[in-house]
Amino acid sequence: MKFARIILANLMRKKVRLLLTIGSFAVALFLFAFLSVVNDAFQRGADVAGADRLVIINRTSIINPIPLSYRDKILRIPGVKIITHNNWFGAIYKDEKNFFPQFVIDPENQRQVFPELIVPDDQWNTFVKDRQGAIVGARTAERFGWKIGDRVPLMVTIWGTGNWEFNIDGIYHGKRPQDDETQFWLQWDYFQEHVPAGIKGQVGWYVLRLDSPDDAVRVSKAIDAEFANSPNETKTETESAFAAGWVKQFGNIKFLIITIGTVVFLTLLLVTGNTMAISVRERTPELAIFKAIGYSDRAVLFFVLAESLVIALIGGVLGLLFSVGAVPVLAKGLNGLLPTLVLSPSTLVLGVILAIVVGLISGMLPGLTAMHMRVVNALRRV
């Protein structure tokens, strides 16, 4: 549009200042993206497939096992479509620092309960036939450079001593970017063969799929009622509630992040607002000329706001783009410490909106000053 030239020319007036202000926006929005990613990582579980899956743990203590014999009883409860079980394996690969989650799985039902974790059929078939087989998530495989056919030793800690060896028969990928690709799966049968007698026939927890998410409450209650007053009482909840419970243990992470974010944006607002104010102050006589020529008060306000918006958008988009590139690098650096770091599109959209809002607010005060400025006062000779 025809006023673009004027707006851009005014921005280029002091290039250093322009770059610094754009830089401020870029930094603020980059930080915003980073904080969102961290927050999402902690909240992650809450929006994993979730709604139609239930998790069953031992009510007494999460580390207490549940009998395998419960499975058939649970299957008889109406609304339960399919059920599988897991144990936490907790072995060490060479060094404690090389942590990744290892699960004993029930091959028969694993894929139906977790359809978003995809294994090519041929690899899966090899695994099923191989007692010492293992399937590993793409990220962990990449981290240690494992390929199909490799033999991997894991040093057990909980279930005994010594090294157990596994053959990597397959690599799984998650369907969506936020799916966990760090898990290591081994066979229930092999596990049962090698654990002490006292531990056989016990699972760590069950995960089941419902016929319909609407049945969640009813089925949960039914399961817990079934095993109430038994030596091993159960606690059943939806997968998202289960994950949310974990997050809540990180006392106030959300509050901390929001506080930091607020400090950052308030500071940005101050800095940018001040810069705009100085810039407008310097140009008062020129703006007066615009008004004298016949530009309305509102037009002048528009110019100031437009400048502010341009800076905000350029800086904001730059910062967000940079974060898109930086997040994968960060994720690698934090290897295993936090679940997958993913930058969601909604964060990017929110970031742009925030940039626009800050741009508008910081330009508003100087813009209003410029709008109300009287030509005769501005041009008065000293």
């Binding site: 025809k2 004027i6 000329i289 020529i293 030509v375 005769v376």
Partner: protein, 247 residues
């Protein structure tokens, strides 16, 4: 024909009647203009002179719609502007007035061409039409070869000439000049005044100018003095020159 006694009749371009303007400065009320009258016909070139603080610029601002009188009325080309709302007044200004101030006229980040184009951006003319008007205006002031220079690349006199081009580009009803040569050396001042004279003589523009320089004022067809809040007819120009310009 220029009259200051309020008896100018209806044929003129600009009519001011009983203008009062009061300022509040430092707690005091200062009556700058007191019952001022003025009639100017189209094609006139009027110079306003007076001591510092006499209200010359104030009068110009009022006539140009940049300020509103405390009392009285101003009519230009049949439009009564004293009671126009802010928005309407701005539009009116855009269409009828060309301003030339002493300084700060040009936007430093825009080229001469872009500066002259500014008033046209408020109209619905196409880009090509605007270009044509701008080139014409710059031609009139003799700066066609400097169209794409920035103000910092122009001399003071050239800057003022670009300002004149901007002032005439949308063909306004009249031009208001507030000390147009105040910052210029004698030669540049002459160049500028020559153009203004040409605008009056050849293009029949109406020009109202405030100046403290009697040599510059002498170029106008009438000189009016602002004394005690009203205008009085000036001395004959030759007498003014002889008196050493004291006014």
């Amino acid at each position: 024909m220029v009259k200051v006694d309020g008896n100018g009749g209806q044929s003129g371009l600009i009519h001011a009647r009983d203008l009062d303007k009061t300022y509040r400065r430092g707690g005091e009320e200062i009556d700058v203009l007191q019952g001022l009258n003025l009639d100017v016909e189209a094609g006139e070139f009027v110079a306003f002179m007076g001591p510092s603080g006499s209200g010359k610029s104030t009068l110009l601002n009022l006539l140009g719609g940049l300020d509103v009188p405390t009392r009285g009325s101003i009519t230009v080309a049949g439009d009564e502007i004293t009671h126009m709302s802010g928005g309407k007044l701005t539009e009116w200004r855009a269409r009828h007035v060309g301003f030339i101030f002493q300084m700060y006229n040009l936007i430093p980040v825009l080229t001469a061409f872009q500066n002259v184009e500014l008033p046209l951006l408020l109209t619905k003319l196409s880009k090509a039409e605007r270009r044509s008007h701008v080139e014409t205006a710059l031609g009139v002031v003799g700066l066609s070869d400097r169209m794409h220079h920035f103000p910092r690349q122009l001399s003071g006199g050239q800057e003022q000439r670009v300002t004149i081009a901007r002032a005439i580009v949308s063909d306004p009803t009249f031009l208001l000049c507030d000390e147009p040569t105040g910052d210029l050396d004698r030669k540049s001042a002459d160049d500028v005044m020559a153009i203004i004279e040409e605008l009056v003589a050849k293009y029949h523009k109406t020009v109202l100018m405030v100046t403290h320089d009697p040599v510059v004022a002498a170029r106008a067809s009438s000189i009016l003095h602002l004394e005690k809040g009203v205008l009085v007819e000036g001395k004959h120009t030759s007498q003014v020159t002889l008196a050493g310009g004291a006014a």
